[in-house]
């Protein structure tokens, strides 16, 4: 079965508190001095990745590498 495409919007408007709760759920405590920076980085990434929603990715494998290729005859 081919890979589907996730159509949900990724969370790009999380607060610092939301981000800290998310981190806690993953066993991580973000130091207070870093929380603003981490929140900015994460929400910006989500915002940028949401641009992929306009692209049809259904049926595209999430393959990261192609180790058996060589030359142009793929």
């Amino acid at each position: 079965m081919a890979n589907g495409s996730i159509s949900v919007e990724f969370p790009s408007d999380l607060s610092k508190e939301d981000v800290q709760r998310l981190a806690h759920g993953l066993g991580l405590t973000i130091p207070e001095e870093d929380l603003e920076d981490v929140t900015a980085r994460f929400t910006a990434l989500m915002s940028e990745l949401n641009k992929l929603s306009d692209i049809d990715l259904s049926g595209v494998d999430p393959s990261p590498i192609f180790p058996f290729e060589g030359g142009r005859q793929q």
Binding site: N3, V19, A23, D37, V38, F42, S47, E48, P62
Partner: protein, 472 residues
């Protein structure tokens, strides 16, 4: 010629002189060590200098060559290694205070291969913490651009770029995940290739992103790049992702010329009006060089290239966060501020987000291959402007909009090849009015390093940019 003058020469120039015994590897190594001693306090290119070991290896090389056992073009050549590669009995910091006491008990495969080729290892080069880039405080000294010590040298193979440009080694081994070899090369005015993923063993390289990490030869010339690549490429049982494809003689077709070849300018990466005028001019001038050499130059389009920066971050940083997960949880504040906020942010990326980025990566790679179906190589600048001043990039992010503007605002020139597992080389192609180097990127098809090197060599032979030296 004196050894003190030969430090400025390329591997291709020095190798036959060493083979003919006209210069001693010991004298050459001493000359580099003197230069390192004089310049390193100012430039911070090296974290560790291996003076005694290098001189011992040089004496052995000299004796071996005297006995008529010349191993090849790297025999007796002094080389530096990015401190991301493990070295037996020699501290490997990966640019972090967390690794201040790490002394590995084996060599990375690339280091072993250099030693087998007879190269002299001068020391370990400075880098951004854990090869991630954007480090705010380098624990082993702030790396400085030899063309202007107030500017960054590019990261993460910062020390390697500096050391080659400042003639503190003949060549260097860097690492390139998202541009970490090519970017310092462009900013320091030298050559660096990111080979096809799998062309060189990653064994013994501290990982950043398992599916994009590549070893990057960084050199004074394209021919040197071919020499070093050939010496270290090839399958390694210790890296299951290393390719079994035979390693070609990369110099065999280097000087064949490029008449009749098709060079594709990536439309989406043509410097916009907002780019530095000297970069725009250098790029247009470069296109003219290829036309003069008999290539046909045409525009090609890779639409998804506009989104490669966030796709890259979603994959690379998330893989990096996995590598560092335990230490980022338990030794958080020992990391540099930029490294830890980057890794903590990536820790929050879900499997769904990661998979969507990988799907987009695969689709993007198809577009790159489609473009390469129309042309032999792809062409783009290496950046939209010269290196920025030290300190300008290390301010913490305050808002989402701040990140979007500073991190994702400009097109990424280097990550397209990282995401698509294709080879690309950065070569000097100009200078700003202030004398800062400008780089040109040439990319090619999977395992087509020979083609990429040939096109780069043709350009280099027609220009003088690679001959410039910083005034130190």
């Amino acid at each position: 010629m004196k050894a003190q003058e030969l430090v400025f020469e390329s591997v291709a120039h020095l190798a036959p002189i060493i083979e003919r015994k006209e210069i001693s590897p010991v004298a050459l190594t001493k000359a580099y060590l003197e230069r390192i001693e004089a310049l390193n306090p100012r430039l911070n290119a090296y974290i560790t200098v291996l003076s005694d070991a290098a001189l011992a290896d040089a004496r052995e090389a000299e004796a071996e060559i005297a006995r008529g056992r010349y191993r090849g073009p790297l025999h007796g050549i002094p080389i530096g290694i990015k401190d991301q590669f493990i070295t037996k009995g020699v501290r490997t910091t990966v640019g972090s205070r967390l690794n201040a006491d790490l002394v590995p008990d084996e060599d990375a495969t690339v280091v072993s291969r250099l030693k087998e080729a007879g190269a002299i290892i001068l020391g370990k080069h400075n880098l951004a913490e854990f090869a991630l880039g954007g480090t705010r405080e380098h624990p082993y000294g702030t790396p400085r651009n030899p063309w202007d010590v107030e500017r960054i040298p590019g990261h993460s193979s910062s020390g390697s770029g500096i050391a080659v440009a400042a003639s503190m080694c003949t060549a260097a081994i860097g690492e390139d995940t998202g541009g970490s070899g090519r970017i310092p090369a462009a900013m320091c005015g030298i050559v660096a290739i990111r080979p096809t993923y799998g062309r060189i063993s990653r064994h013994g390289a501290a990982p950043v992103c398992w599916s994009m990490d590549t070893v990057s030869p960084m050199t004074k010339s394209v021919e040197d790049c071919a020499i070093v690549l050939e010496a270290i490429a090839g399958h390694d049982p210790k890296d299951r992702m290393s390719s079994r494809l035979p390693v070609p003689d990369y110099r065999r077709h280097l000087k064949d010329g490029i008449r009749g070849m098709r060079v594709g300018v990536i439309k989406e990466l043509i410097p916009p009006d907002s780019a530095h005028p000297d970069v725009r001019e250098a790029f247009q001038r470069s296109i003219g060089v290829f036309e003069k050499l008999g290539a046909s130059v045409m525009e090609v389009s890779v639409p998804l290239i506009t989104l490669t920066a966030p796709i890259f971050v979603a994959i690379c940083d998330t893989d990096g966060a996995h590598v560092h997960y335990e230490r980022i949880r338990t030794r958080t504040l020992e990391y540099d501020g930029a490294t830890r906020t980057r890794l903590m942010s990536a820790t929050l990326v879900s499997a769904g987000i990661y998979n969507r980025a990988q799907q987009a990566r695969n689709l993007f790679r198809g577009q790159m291959l489609s473009a390469l179906g129309e042309v032999d190589v792809l062409l783009s600048p290496m950046s939209n402007g010269p290196p920025i001043k030290i300190g300008e990039e290390i301010v913490a992010f305050r808002t989402k909009e701040d990140v979007i503007e500073r991190q994702f605002g400009a097109r990424s020139f280097t990550t397209p090849y990282s995401l698509s597992s294709l080879p690309a080389i950065s070569i000097p192609s100009g200078a700003t009015s202030e004398g800062m180097p400008i780089g040109l990127q040439i990319g090619g098809g999977s395992f087509e390093e020979e083609t990429v090197l040939k096109v780069a060599y043709a350009f280099e032979s027609e220009t003088e940019w690679h001959r410039r030296r910083p005034n130190l």
